[in-house]
Symmetry: C2
DNA sequence: CGGCGTTTTGAGAGAGCTCAACATCGGTGG
DNA sequence: CCACCGATGTTGAGCTCTCTCAAAACGCCG
């Protein structure tokens, strides 16, 4: 069932305009007007917000088939930044066209609602993970949710997603290597 | 506009069945089958999950007019517990009836999607708050978001919502009383 | 080889968590 | 009215853990 729902939203983006993104390239930043809705075709796009002193926190990790910043469809301006974590391609379509398509097709609207509902659960899970004080607990909960540690050279991204400093994650990983 | 969207979902619950909840009474627990959708009429219902050693964490603070566990509409079973934080009344309607009403009325479906979108933003904000290491920062961010400290006798609830221990919140409040 | 970014490791300080004692308040029942 | 009781608020001391600053060791690529 989930696959079917996923398919119908994907189909809506079939004839959308594709754009390539280089690693680190930004799709939009907080404050920008919301004119389009984007779906990741390949690669990975991070929805993030800046904290104090330059550090950034990941609020959504959008892989292939995932809509970036779903919640912005009903806002006039973005609340976060979106940047490509790697070489990516995103499909974009005008917000008005997207919303009218939902209004015309009830089945599509239901798929969209179900997708938003899963985003709510994902975001709540993230907040649950981040309220754990110990890095070890956060990592366990994150790994237990189907997430996997990225390849070497990208561990910092995992740290940002867990809401901890790089050093703290490195130490935890070292601790696990010697004493699992 | 927000008010209008809010109204239409509320109207859907006009002829729903009301149930009273005593303080501390549970509406449902994690694992229960999702048979109905609930909206808070009066009082306050907390959506929460148990952590280790009995402490609980608030994932949603549903006041009057707010739908409890919106994300569960597309799940077969609940992922969290819902308990009344105070004397409350909730309106419940069968899940099938709720979903078919959305399918029949496009305007209603759009309101529902917009409501889910706001829940996503709220949950993301919560995760942002909880990834702050200092209690003072969490409290500031929480207060800056329209939240207010509850009356005396319910400060622990605020602590649960901020994801900190009671003592930590008490100390921070004491710190602010003497040196604002 | 020489940068540049990532990974590793060290040391110190800060802040929350835990356990614990005690005060305060509200309600109950003798 | 007062003693008792439970829950909430308050404060203290110690521990643990992360954060911060800092300095290396790798690893990759021009």
């Amino acid at each position: 069932m989930i696959t079917i729902m996923h398919m119908s939203i994907s189909k809506l983006f079939q004839d959308a305009r594709d754009t390539g993104l280089a690693p680190g390239e930004t799709l939009f930043v907080a404050g920008d007007e919301v004119t389009g809705i984007f779906m990741v075709r390949s690669g990975r796009v991070h929805l993030q917000r800046h904290t104090t002193h330059g550090a950034h926190m990941v609020l959504q990790n959008a892989g292939p088939g995932v809509v970036v910043a779903e919640a912005s469809a009903y806002s006039s301006r973005y609340h976060c930044d979106a940047v490509a974590a790697e070489e990516s391609v995103v499909a974009g379509m005008p917000k008005e066209r997207f919303l009218s398509a939902l209004a015309d097709e009830p089945a599509l609207a239901e798929s969209w609602s179900a997708l938003l509902a899963r985003s709510v659960q994902a975001a709540r899970l993230r907040s649950e993970i981040r309220s754990m004080p110990r890095v070890a607990d956060r990592l366990d909960a994150w790994l237990g949710e189907g997430n996997a540690l990225p390849e070497r050279g990208r561990w910092q991204e995992a740290a940002a997603e867990l809401g901890v400093t790089r050093e703290a994650l490195y130490r935890e990983l070292a601790r696990r290597r010697v004493k699992p």
